[in-house]
Amino acid sequence: MTNREIIEKLRKRIADITERYKARSAEPDTAPWASDTAAPERYSAYPDVEPQVIKKDGFRIYKAVYSPGANVWLHPTSVEAILRLAGADIERLPSANGPLFLDIETTGLSGAGTVAFLIGLGKWDGQTFRITQFFLESRDSEQAMLSEMWPQIADAQVLVSFNGKCFDIPVLQARLTMNGMFHSLPELENKLHLDLYSVARKLGRHPFYGMSLQECTQRFLGIKRAGDIPGRMIPALYFMYERERDISVLDQVFRHNRLDILDMLVFLKYASHLFTQGHECCSDPYALAGIGRFYMAQGELELARRFLQAAADAAPLPHADGIYAHSRLLATVLRKQGKWQQAASIWQALIRGGHARYEDYLWLARYYEICLHDVETAFRIVLDCIEECKRLGKSIPKPVSSRKNRLSRIISNLHS
């Protein structure tokens, strides 16, 4: 190759990469199915309200009241729905006393030096959703503030948070400890707690979205917050407030905290909707498969089948390996339900499409051998599997070779 040719080739490669990069940035920043069928009424249009301020010695309480009106996403969620979402996480049945939504803003990530300077609590009182925020004006008043806040948590039957098990609760525990409120610790520890982060994880990882609360509400409800501050800036704003004593620098933080609580409310409502009716209205294959997987673990095979079927139907991304995993899971559910024939058609489809693993071959072979008593076809399928392994340059898995040996013995016995 001459130098000119090499340079030409390089140029072409650079052009290719640039083109691809352009194409990628031109992609929509939401998935095609985001917010398509899910949220008929836009929550983002829901106005934030001006809270009432109560000044105490060294801390403040902000109270905001929201009447949901016609916005169904802001209506309370049933206790049953919470139980369902929590799966095995909640064993005891909460009473009618509704859940308490909890979200805190802090001066850091963890450790004794991290202070929760803003504690937001959200709760239904029949008609309206009330958010109460406790704000620490002076760190010397932390104990007074925590004492004032504590009865609300003590009263609640269920806490709802986003990642509270790893963050909010440990930080609160540390603050209670450092303020000598040891008696409160066991109660907080044993409180029923629905962590929506675990719900979000059940809904599956998604290539376009992360796992934060905001990313979840954007993914499912198309909510984009306007004029919000990034969470990582919050500690610095509080330190600035402490030096300048200008509370207006924190207005954004108070709003951010309220929006987080509202987001939790909406996400909880939407998630419970997805878990019951998602297979009929949702087209996000990752979420559908995640729910299917969840029901499978719960032993609810028919529900699992419905959601996995919906996931397989919705799978629009030919390159995503996850989709084949969904199909494989569906085949497993069908097989467990005794619907071998339907399961077999999935394994066949996987083999035809060149997406099969050796397990798929083996299951199909078992189907022919056990259900159809067709040992010859079963043998042929195992041979195909071996052929495919060779073609891909992989070593033959042990279960495959032992099945081949077994089948060939049976066949030779049949013929002798």
Partner: protein, 771 residues
Amino acid sequence: MKQAILEQVLAELRRDPRFLACVTAWHHFPATPGSYLDIPDDLHPALKQALTRKGVKALYSHQRQAYDLVRQGQHICVVTPTASGKTMCYNLPVLDAILKHEGIRALYIFPTKALAQDQLAEIEDTAKQGGFKIRGFTFDGDTPASKRRLARETGQIIITNPDMLHQAILPHHPRWAKLFASLKYVVVDEMHNYRGVFGSHVANVFRRLRRICSFYGANPQFILASATIANPKELALNLTGEEVTLIDQSGAPTSEKDFIFYDPAGPHADNAMKHGAITAAARIATRFINKNIQTLIFSRSRMACELLVQYLRDGYPDQFEKHKIQGYRGGYLPSERRAIEKGIREGDIVGIAATNALELGIDIGGLDAVIMAGYPGTIASTWQQAGRAGRKQGKSVAILISGGSPLDRFIVNNPDYFFAQTPEYALINPDNPYILGQHVKCAAYELPFSHSNGEAPKLGPADVEHILEHLTEQKILHKGPAKWNWSSDSFPAAGISLRSATNENFVIIDTTHGAEVIGEVDWASAPMLIHDQAIYMHGGQQYHVIKLDYHDRKAYVKQVDVDYYTDANLAVGVRIMTVDDSSQWDRLTVNFGELIVTALATIYKKIKLYTNENIGSGEISIPEMNLHTQGMWFSLSGDLTAGIDPHALGGVLSGIANVLLNVAPLFLMSDKQDLGVVVEVRSVYDGKPSIYLYDSYPGGVGLAEKAFRMLPEILRACLDLISSCPCTRGCPGCVGPEQQVGEGVKPLAIKLLEAIIQEAHLDQPGNNREA
């Protein structure tokens, strides 16, 4: 039976004229009887049962003394020899207290993870024998998350290290509230490790610990244990802030022991070869090992340790029993180490070649013979290594073999110097502003300092208001109406390391069959040991380094069987970055500033086994390692050194540097290892003869800075030291042995020091410094 064989070998040695020609001292220590006291009546019955089952009928006097003093509420420090049952001194009172009051908790602190594991096994064994349950946990980097929670919630005894206490426990103390609220005992073993800069850090960690304890209303008792040092009571006080009662009379019986000093060069000093100590050690050890006498050979480097394994295996008569000879050093995988320790305890292993990794309190029982291939470097660790020899009954032997270095040869050829010398001092300075400042930051994070109660804020005894004000200026703290509040979203302990070395390691991957990790090498040693083409030895097996992946910290090796090993050269140099302060006279300049100390592995040599012939060499291309630190340096003008033969000048400068290195730690309350010296006959910086003294810590910790400020005192002390040293031609305690620095250096060094002092007008009292 074994005893008779050992006696027999010793008798043979005593009759062997070739052996005796190299012996410079043969000291005999007679057996001493033990001093016993009754097991305390009030000891919990379960513990009494455990002791009975372990065959303990009475306690050594120091164990009983420790028990009684702890019961009286005193802080104690136990300093008794290796294998004198120190562990019992703290386990007995602690377990007894927990058995009597279930809620009591204790914190054990060991310098390494391996020791923590041993300790937990020991406690669990005692509990099993006594038929009781104790909730003991090790807590270190390897503890899985699930166990961490259990340890925090339920642990009665938490066994950890200072680094974990500093980075993981204290900054998260609310999670450990249950431990701190009921903390009754803090056990600190291997206290002698906590000296110099490391010790100063640990002392501040203990100050923070006591501050947190008092927040939770606890005031724990300290139980410390240490190997022999000159000043245990003082070190304990400086570490813990508490007056301790010293227990230094061991009640353990000692067996009869011979201590032999051996110089392989014999009377012919000229043929002292570099690895003389190793071949000599292998030769002597083989005489013991081949008679099935369990023998431990200490060497000073990992390379020497591996060479010894190879030589000993070659010399072992039974080809099928070569696994009876094993190596033991840093870099072996933990599982491998545990197996070797077990093999030693149970007698399956007869010969062990080890580095000082085995010196720390790892429990392997006593051995029949200990051979030191080379002087371990300090009086204290020589006694500690020699202490590994000696069973409960019968005779044992320790042999110190001189290496080729002048220091080694001096010690071995002047046995009286060694036996008369007190062990080293362990000095710390917790109030070093650099170190204190870092821990004040951590402490302020853990619990805000208060300024409303009218008292000056303190960390331990140190007044820290100025540090808090400084942190406030830097906006790390905010001074509120009552307290200094943490005002930064950082986690201070994460950025502060208690030790100088990074814990970054290279992993060694054996690609002979597939790919298997066989061990690791620390970052600083990698250029010397695992450069491309090096022969890396591990467990007596040779490996050829195919490729060192410096960036990803991996070395790929293949098993080989060759008759050579490799040895790399390290070139050390200094680059001056800044001059921050300077004192100048006509013929002398003393500077303080930032330095980069560089170490570059340049070439390696292939050296033939046994004969040590040089059979080839190659270049090493590994990036230079840099230590960016602070230093002070003298630069001498030509007039000052005029009378000295240019060829002798290097030796004179080295001599003064050696004195400086011996004297400065006493003024800086630090350890020799915390400092480094370099001399240049012609400095790259200004072309003048120079002596550098620097902090061996990245960034520096203020030692050289303090030395610069205390220059008059230090220089006068240096001169006093050389002038009053009784040696005639130099010794390790002053300018260094003659063989190291050259002939006639001592008087020249005295003259030059006097000239320096005169030049700087330090000879006139009261005139300490010129502007």
